[in-house]
Amino acid sequence: MATPLVEMKDMSISFGGVRAVDNVSVDLYPGEVVGLLGHNGAGKSTLIKILSGAYKADSGEVFVDGKKVEIESPRDARRHNIETIYQTLALADNLDASSNLFLGRELTTPFGFVDEHAMEAETRKIMAKLNPNFQKFHSPVKALSGGQRQSVAIARAVYFNARILIMDEPTAALGPHETQMVSELIQELKAQGLGIFLISHDIHDVFSLCDRLAVMKNGQVVGTAKTTDVTDDDVLGMIILGKCPKGAIPGPGALSSADAA
């Protein structure tokens, strides 16, 4: 079998005694969408923040293309073409769309000055694709609607030739039409060979978009499964009870048969 694009092995991190992520292993192949599910506070965002360089894991290893890598900062993650749409969007509210899109990676003129015009032109191009109705290129993003802000965050993640895309509830603030567009975008990116981690609370979305899914509970993986091998109810059982069904590979967080009895 091909080498995974990313593999996270035995990741753990705690915040003052709370094991937010506890011995989690997940992997992702090129052209694959893996859904991450779980209750509020299950540790999904924390797990992907380790991959995006926002947090440093207490233990565990990350492999990109089979090679062990150290991701110490968001810069390191970006260097490995890991792009993230954060649940909080991580936009600077006082800056406009193009400043946010290029934050940390500004286009510059030959003299080293920030090239605002070039950045705006690029922003207009990508927004025309992602959200053709978007017009507020000169307003600070705090003047945008939730959906518009989300589309700016999405644009930032896909603009820079990501190979590994992390989407933490990317459609939470979007209307039905925009959600549909994000679904199409995910399919398009998948066809281009990107690997995508998709965090979502919408089981329907996960089944229609993901190839595999992993369920977390209390910082641990309950189980992973191909979406074709499990049913909605199976997944609900994993999320709520931590019960790993037949079609799934149990993780450390799965309810043991002794507990079940």
Binding site: G53, P74, A92, N94, L95, L103, G112, F113, V114, A121
Partner: protein
């Protein structure tokens, strides 16, 4: 925007014309406040009814405008740095004390260290250059050190710089053993005082060059926007704005040139050069060197704020520190840089301040931290972070200084002056809050 296209057929109204100019309303508000203050003092310093007083008042005379300008420079220079500090959600209470330390270091360097220990002859140009270099270095290092404590040790800036206020004020005392140091180097003194001006001819040259630069910038901006097919202002609007700016620059130069050097002083200037003054010669002061320094600082700081990565990161960090961090910005090091810039500007403020006095005194820069913060805040810098402009801070400094000098000229008692300035500060911030609520930014 859509109703603009709909109403396009209607005849243009005054409002439409005004909108087409796309002026920054906050800037207009500040200029309006400044003009109001100036006219008020003009009337109160004049005789007769309002209209006569507007003409014969003492506030808007070349002499007073000249003085106002050179009194503003030191605080204005530091206020540009305070913008960056406040934009990144910090505060610097130590600027006045840091100015004193830099001033003491420079004074000792030029009056004792260089001439007495290293044996440089008085008047050697290396003396003033070295003094400024040493002062700048000290300012930048001290600023960076305070920034390091804020950024890397996580001590709140309020505490670090409150401590700094006490420390640097008294470090200055130790450097000078509590004495007034001076007289300072003759060339050095020119950077701050009335003795250092460009003269009329060179002032016109500078003014015209500045006007050309402004026009070129307007033209370039328009060209670039058109190249990308971005919407641009109508040509006439661009023309009106350019015309206003050029008129302001040249008017300012004309005013400073109109302030004539007293004949006695002129005679002495010729004497020191060993020449005899031609009879009936009149000469204007022109632009003071300190104002050139302020303009240079303003231009550089504006470019940093708007056109460099550093500036972007400063504003992004102020808007959302987490987002900045997640975008790979090293916000800790950024804090060090911002405080280092502030320290360097304190040193420049010290150059201008001590040069203007001709001495370095113990109490130099006392209460400057408050003036500098007030200037930045009156100029529209939001204490919540993320918002602020360099020109606003300079205008804020000018407003503060004209209030203070104006009241002194009218004969308001010192305690009442401070009460008024305090009220104006609070009022200015209140107006700004209302303005932001209205415009939603």
């Amino acid at each position: 925007m859509s109703d603009d296209t709909l109403s396009g057929a209607k005849s243009p109204t005054a409002r439409n014309l005004f909108n087409a100019l796309q002026l920054d309303t906050r800037l207009l508000g500040m200029i309006g406040a400044f003009v109001f203050i100036c006219l008020t003092f003009q009337v109160f310093t004049g005789d007769g009814n309002i209209f006569k007083a507007l003409v014969n008042g003492n506030f808007l005379t070349p002499r007073n405008i000249f003085n106002l300008t050179i009194q503003t420079v030191s605080v204005a220079i530091m206020a540009t740095g305070m913008v960056f500090i406040i934009v990144t959600r910090h505060i610097d209470l130590s600027v006045g004390a840091l100015l004193a330390t830099c001033s003491a270091i420079m004074a000792v360097t030029q009056t004792q260290f260089m001439p007495q220990w290293l044996g440089f002859e008085l008047g050697n140009p290396l003396i003033w250059i070295a003094a400024i270099a040493v002062g700048l270095l000290a300012g930048v290092l001290i600023g960076a050190f305070q920034g390091w404590m804020v950024g890397y040790l996580g001590i709140p800036a309020f505490i670090v710089t409150l401590g700094g206020l006490l420390v640097w004020r008294n470090v200055a005392w130790f450097i000078t053993s509590g004495q007034t140091i001076g007289p300072l180097d003759e060339t050095f003194k020119k950077i701050g005082g009335i003795g250092g001006t460009l003269g009329t001819t060179w002032s016109w040259v500078v003014g015209i060059l500045a006007a050309i630069a402004v026009l070129a910038m307007q033209y370039n901006g328009r060209k670039r926007a058109q190249a990308h097919d971005f919407p641009t202002k109508p040509l006439w609007a661009e023309g009106v704005i350019s015309g206003l700016m050029v008129a302001m620059i040249l008017g300012f130069v004309a005013t400073l040139n109109a302030y004539e050097i007293p004949t006695r002083r002129l005679e002495r200037m010729f004497e020191t050069r060993g020449e005899i003054m031609p009879d009936g010669l009149v000469a204007g002061y022109g632009i003071p060197y300190s104002v050139l320094l302020l303009i240079a600082v303003a231009v550089v700081m504006t470019i940093v704020a708007q056109r460099t990565r550093l500036g972007r990161y400063i504003f992004a960090t102020g808007g959302n520190p987490d987002a900045a961090e997640l975008s790979g910005i090293n916000t800790r090091f950024l804090t060090v840089k911002v405080f280092a810039i502030m320290g360097g500007l304190c040193a420049l403020g010290a150059v201008v301040g001590s040069a203007r006095l001709g001495f370095s005194t113990n109490d130099i820069g006392t209460l400057d931290e408050l003036r500098v913060i007030a200037a930045a805040v009156i100029g529209g810098t939001a204490l919540a972070g993320g918002v602020g402009t360099i020109y606003g801070a300079i205008l804020g400094a000018l407003i503060m200084q004209s209030l203070q000098s104006g009241m002194a000229m009218v004969g308001v008692d010192a305690p009442l002056q401070n009460i008024v300035v305090g009220i104006v500060l609070v009022l200015a911030v209140f107006v700004d809050i209302i303005y932001r609520k209205r415009t939603g930014d």
